[in-house]
Each structure stands twice: as structure tokens, then as C-alpha cells.
Symmetry: none
Subunit: 213 residues, 4 copies
Amino acid sequence: MDKQPKFKRRAEARPDEVLDAALEMFLEKGFAAAKVEDVARRAGVSKGLVYLYFPSKDALLEAIVRRAISPVADSALAQLAVVEGDPRVALRRVIGALMVQLSDPQRMAIPKLILREAWQFPKVAEMYRREVLDRAIPAVTALLQRGMDQGYLRQLDAELTVRSLVGPIAVHLMLAEVFDIAPGDGLALERFMDNHLAILFDGLSAHPMEHGQ
Amino acid sequence: MDKQPKFKRRAEARPDEVLDAALEMFLEKGFAAAKVEDVARRAGVSKGLVYLYFPSKDALLEAIVRRAISPVADSALAQLAVVEGDPRVALRRVIGALMVQLSDPQRMAIPKLILREAWQFPKVAEMYRREVLDRAIPAVTALLQRGMDQGYLRQLDAELTVRSLVGPIAVHLMLAEVFDIAPGDGLALERFMDNHLAILFDGLSAHPMEHGQ
Amino acid sequence: MDKQPKFKRRAEARPDEVLDAALEMFLEKGFAAAKVEDVARRAGVSKGLVYLYFPSKDALLEAIVRRAISPVADSALAQLAVVEGDPRVALRRVIGALMVQLSDPQRMAIPKLILREAWQFPKVAEMYRREVLDRAIPAVTALLQRGMDQGYLRQLDAELTVRSLVGPIAVHLMLAEVFDIAPGDGLALERFMDNHLAILFDGLSAHPMEHGQ
Amino acid sequence: MDKQPKFKRRAEARPDEVLDAALEMFLEKGFAAAKVEDVARRAGVSKGLVYLYFPSKDALLEAIVRRAISPVADSALAQLAVVEGDPRVALRRVIGALMVQLSDPQRMAIPKLILREAWQFPKVAEMYRREVLDRAIPAVTALLQRGMDQGYLRQLDAELTVRSLVGPIAVHLMLAEVFDIAPGDGLALERFMDNHLAILFDGLSAHPMEHGQ
DNA sequence: CATGAATGAGTTTTCATTCAT
DNA sequence: AATGAATGAAAACTCATTCAT
């Protein structure tokens, strides 16, 4: 996008610039349809140079994911472990953070890419699972479990409850992204979060009813 | 799969057999990676025959979706319109049906395919949106809205609430499918549904709390 | 074009109908680009039937030419042999006939086809040469030669003179056909023939000049 | 044909080498029958390289014609405009030049290709017409017209007369080329030209006759 | 380091021809 | 005789990858 400062390349940054370009192209056209030449052109380098840094097209995908994975969770997740008192405050914060992150195209890029392509690349899927999901999900699960144990939350299956927490957000973004289905006013993130949390914490029901199965 | 008896071709069924094979292959390898020859072999026919019925590989994808779309929802959706009384009963039924359907690989196939490939084929995405989502979502929205108007459900944004209804299911299945992340006992659909509905109807909270933002 | 009279096919006419259709298609699209199925459809029969009558696509071309060749020249050419007196009268008649024939699309079809495709099919070229050209050219050559011998025409090379007789017509039609280059008023055959004959018989020169090489 | 010294590729010349090879193959086998791989092999390069320079097989044909067209006629045609005095001298020169050019296989190649294939490719036909015919024909027409106006030539239709000038040459070469019909001694260009000019200037007739019609 | 010309294996697509009915 | 479903060999075109410079 921006032409590099004439000469004197920051040689160190090169591989990263290539990965940036690759990520863009893969999102735009999909991994299979994106050509290595597209990536090179977008990065402002020659096709050959891409192969100087990465041994294959597949390796590009892997590197993209690997690079994105490292810094994950370390910050946010750590906090969850030390939450005291009502976990709903923390949950509200977690969900808010999640939503903001994912509605930022930059941040959304990796999960989107993973979801689209990962199943074709078991190595990548496995990597993402191990590094991201296997850290994030247990952390949230633990937070929920603690809330249940301490009486703040009802006794439910904490592991499954994570789905109720993340699911609506994922679907909200997917509907907008893939099918261009959104409430009248764009993503309406504020409203959506309020609605989501209202249901998540207190349910849909106006009055409790006797549940029979 | 089963070799038909060499001669006596059921010509009528052929296009459908090809589409079945194509669907399988596209799911297995992805649209781009699946070769037309794979599809033909899987269908037990020659490559040429595929092109006798479908003008291009793209057309296969489109035809798969088109075929799957027609019979959608007409049955289930019709019922929603006539629900009287507490909509939670209907919702429980809808969610149950949805979950059963989607956990059936046959049924899950199309949405999975769409989600993976549709964005590359705007025509397909648009078709699916128009025929499926634009019918199903308003139907559920209306059900929820009626429930709110009649005092069974709290006053929330019905349109956004649909996400809370569907989201957890989608994510539950996706985690299992893509990342092989499932509760110890497989999909645990029964348990998952109970958990989901419990939260959806009555929330996570053990005791209501004063919501501040 | 016209649907055959319901049932009771004139089975004898079939091969000819196929050839008609093939000729049309070959002219329209060229031999290589015309599909056998096109021919069949145009003839109103099935692809299989074409192969019942003709062993291959090539054979269609050959048959077209063979069929067209037989009746050629037998009529007109015979007359040339018995011409007495000033051959210019006969020439005028020959050229007129030639021009009328060739300006009739039906009649022009075969030569056009030959010219376009024959060089790819030595057998066809050879057949046409043997049956048509090797008869027509000597006949005209003889006519010219007699005219020269009898003092009606100047002593020139009769064989080469045939080119001067036919060439302008061929080019006139080709320019119109291939490049859409024609005098303002369509083919203007009358005017063209007058012009052609005027030059052919009496030359361009207003006054003879001394030819030096 | 000659293997270039393995390394040291003259990248500049490549597209032209490919076009040369393509021209040869198209003439040899016809556009439809010539395979891109044939062209590549003939040019001593790989199939892929052909597509590196030309987006499609069609584009090869177009490029061949386009390349050949540019330098046309600019030299020879310019001279015609300034002819003074008896135009027959100029005509003799024009016809001679034309004949020499067209009997040179290199030079004949393009018109031959055009005549065989152009009608399938309207773009090509149109290009050739515009760039070559629409320049050459009017130039010769003007020359003839001037000759008529100045009393050197009889008053005839100059536009149609062009056909009488070019036609015999075209047919002479075509007969030889397509049907292998030539006077005993090869093309006999000298003799043919003498014969052609003799008729063209002074006609066939030994003595003028009273034209009727 | 960097380039981009060059390759060739791999894919989609076409279509003459066959053959069971 | 007639059909048209089915085949498969062949051709156009693509693109990841290499390598001489």
C-alpha cells in the first residue's frame, strides 16, 4: 500500500510484509485461488523472494497463523484467572473485548482465515486449537465454573456454556460478513451486546416457567 | 458407492448421483481442491458425463445448493406461524429440530458447504440467503416478537435475539467439526440442548443483579 | 427447417439431409469448429444416426464434396466443345453463367468450403481437382486456344489466360464475402461483368502503346 | 530450430519467436488443428511460456496479424500517389512487385492465413481490412482513376477494375498452392506476368468487335 | 539478496465416437 | 433404424516452483 522509503529496505521486516500481503490475498480470494504472484505483487516484491523466505505456499499459511498465535491470550487470559467476586463483571468485560476485537477486520482476519481454510490443513487447525482454543476455552470455562461454585451463577455445565457465550457473537458477525445480513444500522455492536448479555445473564423469559423436558 | 449393474442405466437419476458425489467431494476436499475427475469417479461415471449434465465445475456447486434449497423450511416454518400460547414450547421444538437436523451429516452438509465456499460465489451466497435465511430468520423473529408482545418473553430486540438462539448451536457443531473440540461424550446433544435452553430462557444468573453498563 | 410430415420418413432422403446440414454448419463455423451434434441437430436427427450413414466427421466433408462434384460441368462444359465462330460470345456466356452460379449462395457453398478446408484434406482437394478443375480448366483453355488459332483472339498463353478470366470474379466475390468490401450497390454483378469483359476483351488502354518489357 | 545456448536468454526476442513459430504452425496445420504445444515446441520453449506472453491461442493469431500489418504498404503505396504520366508504367511496377511479394512464402504467409482463418475471427478480418485493404485498394483505384481522367486508360469503373488487376494473380497463386495446378514450369511468374499485362492493357481480342449487351 | 523468465505437472473442458437399448 | 447416454483421449490453460543471472 505505502511505497517503502525509496531505498534502504528494512530487510528484517520483509518476511512480515510478505505475510501481511499473503493474509490479505488469502482472505480476499481464498487460499486456493490466491496466486503466489498476487501475494508477491501485493507485498511489492518479486515472486522469487517469497520463496526465499518461505519454502512453499502452504508454509505461508502456516506462518501467518503461527505469527498470529503467539501473542494471543497472554494478556487477556491472564486476568481471568485472578477474578474475584461476581464473574459477570468479568464476563461482560470478556465479551465486550471479544466483540471489539472481532469487529476489527485486522483482528477478525485470522479466525476468519482459520475457519475457512484450516480444515484443509490439519497441521494449521491443530496449531490453532492447541495455541488458542485450548487456552481460551478452559480459561473461560474455569471462570464460569468458579462463578457457579461460588453461587453467582446457576449450576450448569460450564464447558457447554462457553458456547452460549461465544456462539451469538460468532453468528452475528458471520451473518453480516458472509450474507450481508445485519440489523438496519450496521453491526449495531452496542445494542447487540446489551441484548446478548441480557439474555445470557437473565434469560428470555418474562416469568420463570416450570420446565419439563 | 454401489456399482450399478453395468448396463441398464437409470438415466433419470444420473444428475442427482453426480450432485451427490460432488457434494461429498467438495466437503471432503473443498471446492477448489476437489477435481472434477474425483467427482466423476465417486459417482461411478466418466469425467465427460459430468459435463454432459453440468456446464462447468462452478455449475456443480450452484446446482448442489439449488437442489438443497427448494424443500427447505416449508414444513417446519409453516408451523411457527400458527403457534399459540407460550412460544417457549415452540422454541424448544424449533431448537431441537434444528439441532437434530444439523447433527445429521447429510443435513449439515449444505450449510457447511455454503459457509466454506459461498463467499467465493456471490451468486450462491445470494441464493442461499434469499431462499433459506430470508425465510427462516424472519419466521423465528416473528415468533419471538409475538412472545414478547404477549408477555411471555421479556422485551428485547427480537431480531438480535435470533443470534442467541442459533449461535450456540452453530458454534457447538463447528468446534466439534473443525477443531474436534467436544465435551467428553461426543456431541452430547441432549445435554447441550438442555444447557442451551436453560440459559436461553432463564439466564446464567443465580440471582438477578442490577445491571449497570 | 421444415418439420418433416409427421411420420413416414422418406428414408432415402436422410443421408442427403444430413449432408445439407453438414454443409451449412461447416460453412457457418468451419469444419473444425462445427460439432457433429450441431450437424445432427440441424438435420433434425440424432447424433447416432449421423454415424449410421457416415463413418466419421471427415467422411461427411468428403461426401459433401463428392455429391456436389458429380453433376458438375457435364452440362455447360459440353457446350464449349462445340462452339463455332467467335469464341467471345461463348466466353461471355461462360463468364455470365459462372458469375450467376457463384453469386448464388447454394452454388457458391462448395467452392467456398473447398477453398477453406481442402488443404487440410488432401483427399478432398485431390478429388475436387480431378473432378472439377481438371475438367473445367482444360475446356476453357481449349476454347481460348481455338479462338487464338482461328484468329479471333490474340496469340497468348491460353492456359495462363484462364486465370485472367476467372481471377477477377473470384476476387470480387471474396472481397465481398470475407471482408465485406463491395461497391456501393451490393455485388453489382451486371456492372461488374460489363467491366470485367470490357477489360478482358479489349484491355484497359485507351490507345495501344508500344510495349517494352 | 536452433537450440539457443541453454542460458543467456534473449528475453526481448521471445514473443517474436513465439509468433514466428505460431505462424508456421497455423499455416501448416490450420489454426484449429495446430496445438499450442506444437507452437511451443517449434519455438523451442515450453507451453507455459506461450501463455506468459499471450493470454490465449486466439490472441496468438491476432498478434501475428497485428505484427504483420503495421509496416504494410507504407513504402510502396506512397509512390503510387505521385505517379505522373502514363500509369501503365506504374501499374506494371505495382503488379510486378505484388507478384514477387506474394510468391515469397514469407510474404504470402499472412494473406494466406487471413484468407483461411479470418472469417472465423471477425476482429482479425476487420483489422486486416482496415489496415491493409482499405489503404491499398483506394490507392490503386486512385491510380487507375487518374489514368482514366488523363486519357491514358479507357473510361471504366476504376473500383471494379482493381479486381481485374489483382484477381488473376490471386487465382494463379491459389491454384498452385491449394490444388497444385501450375503451368508445366512451376509458377512461371515471368510468363504469367507478361500474359496478364498483355490482357489487362490490350485485351484478348485480335480485332475489336462490336460489343452488344 | 533479488529478479522474473521459464517450466511442466496438473486441471478443466471439449467432442468425436461408441453402444446398450 | 434410431436414440442419446456414456466414454476417454486430447487440447487449452493455470500456477507453484525453480534457477540462471
